[in-house]
């Protein structure tokens, strides 16, 4: 399992591992919200508000 594999390789006791996981998750969300999603969204046809031919 990927999660158990990562967990077993994190340093420290369970509390420190949990802290590292939490920080990593927040960092991941920050990168997604500020960089990845804004870049991706214009390519998705989920909403448009202009009229255009074609």
């Amino acid at each position: 399992m990927i999660s158990t594999w990562i967990w077993s390789r994190l340093p420290g006791n369970a509390w420190i591992k949990a802290l590292i996981v939490a920080i990593a998750f927040v960092a991941l969300v920050a990168v997604l919200f500020e960089v990845v999603f804004p870049w991706l969204e214009p390519y998705l046809p989920i909403q448009d508000q202009t009229v255009e031919g074609g």
Binding site: L32, F37, D48, Q49, V51
Partner: protein
């Protein structure tokens, strides 16, 4: 079977990760884009007001809206119906004006920039001007688009606009007060709504129109909600703000 179990376990974990990712995307799209765009749009409005605010004497309009205590309205002798000053089309993504819609509250103000693409205008600045259509006050059809939902959602309450409502554009030179004449719901391909004479493609311009487009229904791209209007009057900046901005909207 041990190998099969392990593969199944990993597939399961990947599916959970994909689910979390999609969930995060929805949260970002529906909530966080408003936070992001709201910040940027407030800063843009402040910048624009710093530039033109100096000449908007008597009117203390800020990013917080109209201060009713100190405001002066434009007297009748400065309300003109002759040829207004019309800006040249600016560079792409350049902010050239602000839009006020009294129906949406006296604090409603959003920036308007050149172009209607999402990455540089609609997702960032707010309202986008269709390239090639008339500029504010221009002969023809001043046409703009904006998001109905997400990214600060400038046109979120478009369905509340009624005939006779005012839509007011402020540029560095002038105020342009448009009166709404109606709305229609069309397919996304209906480019005739932004023709020089709305809905009459090929016709020579015969007036000073306004057209606003946004998506319909909310959270969908199936149709466009389109509002039309015409220029009621214009006024040079520096003599207060249009009285329509402070009047009670019925």
């Amino acid at each position: 079977m041990r190998v099969f179990d392990r593969i199944l376990g990993i597939v399961g974990e990947l599916l959970i990760a994909a689910g979390v990712l999609l969930g995060l995307f929805v949260v970002w799209q529906l909530f966080y884009t408003d936070v992001q765009a709201g910040r940027v749009q407030d800063a843009i409005i402040e910048d624009f007001e710093d530039q033109v605010g100096a000449v908007t004497a008597g009117g203390s309009v800020s990013e917080d809206g109209v201060d009713l205590e100190t405001v002066e309205t434009i007297p009748a002798e400065y309300q003109f119906t002759d040829d207004p000053p019309v800006l040249d089309e600016p560079a792409h993504a350049e902010v050239f004006g602000l839009m006020y819609v009294p129906r949406w509250g006296e604090d409603y103000v959003k920036p308007i920039a050149q172009g209607t693409d999402k990455p540089t205008v609609l997702n960032v600045i707010g309202i986008g001007h269709y390239e090639g259509t008339a500029m504010p006050g221009g002969w023809g059809n001043f046409s703009v688009a904006a998001h109905r939902t997400t990214y600060g959602k400038p046109f979120t309450d478009i369905q509340t606009i009624e005939d006779g409502d005012s839509v007011i554009i402020e540029t560095a030179d002038a105020w342009y007060v448009y009166e709404v004449t109606g709305h229609e719901i069309v397919l996304p391909t209906a480019v005739e709504v932004i023709a020089p004479v709305p809905d009459q493609p090929g016709m020579e311009a015969d007036g000073r129109y306004l057209t606003m487009t946004t998506c319909n229904p909310r959270y969908s791209a199936a149709q466009r909600w389109v509002v039309h209007g015409y220029l009621k009057y214009w006024a040079p900046t520096g003599h207060g703000i249009p009285s329509e901005m402070v009047e009670e909207v019925s």
